[in-house]
């Protein structure tokens, strides 16, 4: 085999989360009220457009979560296969061009020449000039032809993007037609109509339009990155587009894995506090009041500092640098989860207090059903919508906080690609002359796209599941204390 698959812990957890989401979807399909709420989300064009963008980010993140170690060239006299210590992912393999073609240092987006002048010898005379890049525009004989080359590549990229889009849409419409037992042409026409019963369950128009934009942008970027650095290169000459793509996984992990800690804590403790009352309630309330009264950033800082000491004093636990960075990322998720379950727990406790007085719960009690069974069968399903909304709404906040924490120096490992480390590295570049703006711009654009899509989607989910409750209240308090 040319490679050895390697599962990092975060990969395992992420794929487990994907499986969990599928299980949740199946569960939602079976429950009538949840299905109806999801249908309302599906009808919203904005929500479906954001969902499409989120799906694009998620697929980048998932491709980046299939890791392997490539096999080293066989050595003389050794039959045993040797694998590189470097851990790569499928995404790395797909964009090998970006990863491997490094420059010496900064270069502007789509540039053909380096950013800084260098002394070089030309016709036996020493001159100072901008050297040609090793990769960016290296295929051009004459630099003046760059613009027409870019235009040509953009056109063909957009064309292939649209071709891909047409294929995807064609297959999707075909599946729809099969599922409904309708003619292909008729389905085609109804999909594009704005609001008819035939298109109802999902606003396909928004999905396909967003997909078209994504395909065209993706096609052009892919075509350009075949010969240029689309977002330029950073200080050590790495392609900024590659760094941003790698950062997506970190952002997604922080946003999703944290819930693995938050959820069990908040649900279990909130249920018990609300349902049992008395001594249990006092203890749990005390616990979350104490945790809540420590300003979030400071508690996170204290915990992360302690985690650093543990990691530093036990270097023998980690075989590769990737494993250490991975452990640190997981620990960060754990810490963020430990510090952020209190809000959800309080909500769930209050809701449980209300639910346990309801007639059907009293009836279950009268029938002699045990506490654990009542909580699982009669109360938990009625809390699902709160849990779901809280999960979706916390995501964007977590992505944003990752950047801030990494900037302060208590975020992910500095060797790990993330938006926070990108911003941190690029912070002083604006004071250079001329300005190096592209790393910041790339981080800005991708973060904005991800967080904006997540926010819009979360709003739609909130409106569909629980329009009256004032969810913003919880968030504001959290944001200010951070």
């Amino acid at each position: 085999m040319d490679f050895k698959p390697l599962l990092l812990w975060s990969d395992i957890l992420l794929w487990a989360m994907v499986a969990g989401c599928i299980a949740l979807a199946v569960y939602c399909r079976r429950q009538d009220y949840l299905r109806r709420a999801w249908r309302r989300v599906g009808e919203s064009g904005v929500a479906m457009a954001s969902a499409t963008i989120l799906a694009a980010f998620v697929s980048v993140g998932l491709l980046d979560s299939l890791h392997y170690q490539p096999r080293l060239p066989a050595q003389e006299g050794s039959t045993e296969a040797q694998y590189a210590p470097e851990v790569l992912s499928v995404l790395d393999a797909l964009v090998a061009d970006l990863r491997l073609n490094k420059e010496k240092t900064y270069s502007a987006p789509l540039a053909t020449h380096a950013f800084a002048k260098e002394t070089m010898e030309r016709d036996g005379v020493q001159t100072r000039d901008y050297p040609r890049l090793k990769w960016g525009g290296a295929h051009l004989d004459d630099v003046a032809g760059r613009d027409s080359d870019l235009a040509r590549r953009a056109l063909s990229g957009a064309f292939y993007g649209l071709l891909l889009w047409a294929a995807v849409v064609g297959v999707a419409v075909g599946c729809m037609a099969l599922a409904r037992g309708a003619a292909y042409g008729a389905t085609c026409r109804t999909v594009w109509r704005p609001d008819t019963a035939a298109t109802r369950p999902i606003a396909w128009r928004a999905v396909f339009a967003t997909l078209a934009v994504l395909c065209v942008i993706g096609g052009i970027t892919a075509a350009w990155s075949g010969g240029y650095h689309v977002f330029g290169t950073d200080k050590v000459g790495q392609d900024v587009l590659y760094l941003s793509l790698k950062s997506v996984r970190t952002a997604l992990l922080i946003g999703t894995l944290t819930t693995l800690v938050t959820l069990p804590l908040a649900v279990a403790l909130g249920l018990i506090a609300g349902f049992r009352g008395g001594w249990w309630d006092d203890a749990i309330q005390y616990l979350y009041t104490v945790l809540n009264s420590i300003p979030g950033v400071l508690l996170i800082a204290a915990m992360v500092l302690m985690m650093q000491v543990i990691i530093d004093t036990h270097p023998e636990w980690f075989e590769t640098a990737a494993e250490r960075a991975d452990a640190r990322l997981l620990a960060l998720c754990f810490i963020l989860g430990l510090t952020s379950w209190t809000g959800l727990c309080r909500l769930l406790r209050a809701e449980t207090l209300k639910l346990r007085e309801l007639d059907y719960v009293q009836a279950a009690r009268a029938f002699g059903v045990g506490d654990a069974r009542i909580m699982a069968r009669h109360i938990l399903p009625n809390l699902m919508h709160i849990v779901l909304i809280a999960l979706v709404m916390d995501f964007s906040g977590l992505v944003l906080s990752e950047a801030v924490l990494s900037y302060i120096g208590i975020g992910v490992d500095s060797s790990m690609n993330s938006f926070g480390t990108m911003i941190n590295a690029a912070r002083l570049e604006l004071s250079r002359e001329p300005v190096v703006w592209w790393s910041l711009a790339a981080a800005f654009v991708l973060m904005l796209a991800l967080v904006l899509a997540a926010n819009l989607f979360a709003d739609a989910v909130r409106d569909a599941f629980d329009p009256r409750f004032q969810w913003r209240a919880r968030r504001i308090v959290k944001k200010v204390t951070a």
Partner: protein, 325 residues
Amino acid sequence: MIAYIIRRLLYAIPILIGVNLITFLLFFVVNSPDDIARMQLGAKRVTPEAIEKWKAERGYDKPLVWNADAPGVAKATDTILFDKSVRMFALDFGRADDGRDIALEIKSRMGPSLAIAIPTFILGLFVTVSFALLLVFFRNTALDVGGVVLCVAAMSISGLFYIIGGQYLVSKVWNLVPISGYSGGLDAGKFLVLPVLISVIGGIGASARWYRTLFLEEINKDYVRTARAKGLSELRVLFRHVLKNAMIPILTGVVVVIPLLFMGSLLLESFFGIPGLGSYTIDAIGSQDFAVVRSMVFIGSVLYIVGLLLTDISYTLVDPRVRLN
């Protein structure tokens, strides 16, 4: 009222003890002082003597919770738990790694922090509430929709970009104010304008949108219709009636943070080089000065609890229906 306040203050004591225990567990039990010393001194050339010396300098060489060798009361007091944690209740924070007294340092750094936090708070509240009222005034028009879209976009941008972008534009390109720094007295103004503006603008998105929903909730109620039927102008309805009644949920979010203003802002202060408590905390995190981080955690919790108390009291001021007893 006074009885209520006293009861609430008494209730705060177990919470503070809890906070103190958590910090004690985090800083002394999760990692032993030996581990911390080893990391601070650098893992390679560390000797047992150096570790002992490091611990002795900082008073970490005592037993954790129970000193069996000491006489009498000192069995309980001559320990790390008492020295480092219990003493915090008397606002005795000990010394930082650079040998300075933490309490003194905090006192001198409070001024700059407040100089930036108070204007931000007041201006921010004023701007966001007016912006939200404006959106409500133009509700169901394109202006309202545009404003909400703007809010959602604004809250999707990381605070880091506001600071970096603002600093670059205003200080570097337009050259209006110094990029960073601080000085006392009236001179401080030119250093404070930009950070205050940036944090106000950065905060508009999320809060204005939330206030808008609060106002919209009120605006459909009967008393508002009555006020309009009376012939009051729309502006008067908004300011005299809607704003007053939406005050309670606004207060929950706002009053809590007033005491926390003392802590300053981590990001702003470090970007603008303002010698306040925020940058103190950041520096302590950067240099892994655990004593300072521990003290800031404790102070932050005290201030947060004060904020909760203030919130409850402020309810009685804006809503006569609420009685504290």
